[in-house]
């Protein structure tokens, strides 16, 4: 099995919360694989929700992993965990709690502009009114409506 393509995760992991949940499931799977004399398929049936089970199966299928093989499964789980852990995180402050559709739009924007899946760490601060405060790798810039309004008012005064 070759490395896992991070972009293959774009449909499933978009926010830091998604990543945390996914890593938790992978941790459980990893423990169960070593404990029981069963296949991953069987573990997914019993330990993980149907939707998550389908997702993991889809990713495994995309990377040609045999879910019946007891040798390939631990390696697959380890590589998937490593790939999620290496995804870059972008911190965004928004004026409201975004819907899933908006998260998809933002996530897609990163794929289109940087050809890369990122983890969105979203905070909500209604006082910024609109727009966003963007923070990445220690660099931070305020592109909020509040900031713009303040600048406009200050210029007029």
């Amino acid at each position: 099995m070759t490395t896992i393509n991070p972009n293959s995760l774009q449909s499933y992991i978009r926010t830091t919360e998604d990543a945390t949940n996914f890593l938790s499931i992978l941790g459980t799977l990893s423990n169960e694989v070593f404990k029981k004399n069963t296949t991953l398929d069987e573990i997914l049936e019993h330990e993980v929700s149907y939707q998550r089970g389908l997702t993991i199966k889809k990713i495994a299928a995309d990377h040609n992993v045999d879910l019946q093989s007891r040798t390939e499964i631990p390696m697959f789980i380890t590589k998937l965990t490593d790939t999620i852990n290496t995804l870059p995180t972008v911190h965004l402050t928004l004026a409201f709690a975004p819907r899933r559709q908006l998260i998809t739009v933002v996530s897609q924007w990163f794929i289109v502009n940087f050809q890369q899946v990122v983890l969105l760490d979203i905070k909500v601060d209604p006082s910024i009114m609109g727009g966003s405060i963007v923070e990445f790798n220690g660099k931070r810039q305020d592109y909020s409506l509040k900031k713009q309004a303040e600048q406009t008012l200050n210029e007029k005064n």
Partner: protein, 244 residues
């Protein structure tokens, strides 16, 4: 056995031991005699000493008995004498007390007499002194009153003259001071007004800003929000905040 070899010597030997024995016996007897005499002397001395000691004790005992008898006689005599003295002293005390009372009464009467005299004299002198003092005080009071009236009249006159002389000059000074103070107060009021206006402006600005923010936040539709967020991301990319 041949005894001849001892013939001469034999005789000598018989004589010699006899002599030595006699000498020894004599010496022993002499020593014994001396010892007997010595012991006799010691015993004699001892007896004499004991005899003397007994005599001494007998003498002491007699002396002590005599002293004891004398002491008893003295005590008896003393007891009698003291009883007499006590009896006499009681009598004497009685006499003395009576005499002392008489003397004290006399002295007290004399003192009372002197005190009455002295008090009467002092009272007379005191009344005379008070009358004199009252007269002097009246005179002094009248004099002081007159002097005070004169002084007050003169002072008032001088004050009114001085006041009327200075009023003209003072008026000018007051006018000048009033003008200065007015100017200062006007200046302070202007500064205060400006400061207050600045504060009001700031507060109005803050309120407008807050209202504007609130209204804007509520009135922006979701598509516009989405557009603004994407716009922010575009700017962040352009300004190299996002460098993936």
């Amino acid at each position: 056995m041949d005894w001849s070899i001892f013939s001469y010597d034999y005789n000598n030997m018989i004589l010699l031991p006899d002599l030595i024995t006699i000498l020894i016996i004599t010496a022993v007897l002499a020593i014994l005699g001396a010892l007997v005499i010595f012991v006799h002397n010691i015993l004699k001395t001892e007896r004499e000493f004991q005899h003397k000691e007994e005599e001494t004790f007998t003498r002491y005992r007699k002396i002590l008995n005599k002293a004891h008898n004398q002491a008893r006689a003295i005590l008896y005599t003393t007891s009698l004498a003291s009883n007499d003295i006590i009896s006499d002293s009681k009598q004497t005390n009685q006499n003395l007390t009576e005499d002392l009372d008489k003397v004290l009464q006399t002295i007290a009467q004399q003192h009372i007499h002197y005190m009455n005299e002295a008090t009467e004299n002092f009272q007379k002198e005191y009344v005379a002194y008070l009358e004199d003092l009252q007269k002097k005080f009246s005179v002094q009071q009248e004099s002081t009153l007159t002097m005070t009236q004169d002084t007050v009249s003169k002072s008032l006159e001088a004050f009114s003259q001085s006041l009327s002389a200075k009023t003209v000059g003072t008026q000018e000074v007051i006018d000048k001071k009033t003008t200065e103070m007015l100017e200062q107060v006007e200046s302070e009021i202007t500064d205060y007004k400006a400061s207050k206006l600045r504060k009001i402006d700031a507060e109005v600005s803050r309120l407008v800003q807050k209202t504007f923010q609130e209204v804007l936040r509520r009135s922006i539709p979701e598509p516009l929000h989405e557009e603004l967020i994407v716009e922010a991301l575009e700017k962040a990319k352009k300004e190299e905040i996002l460098t993936l």
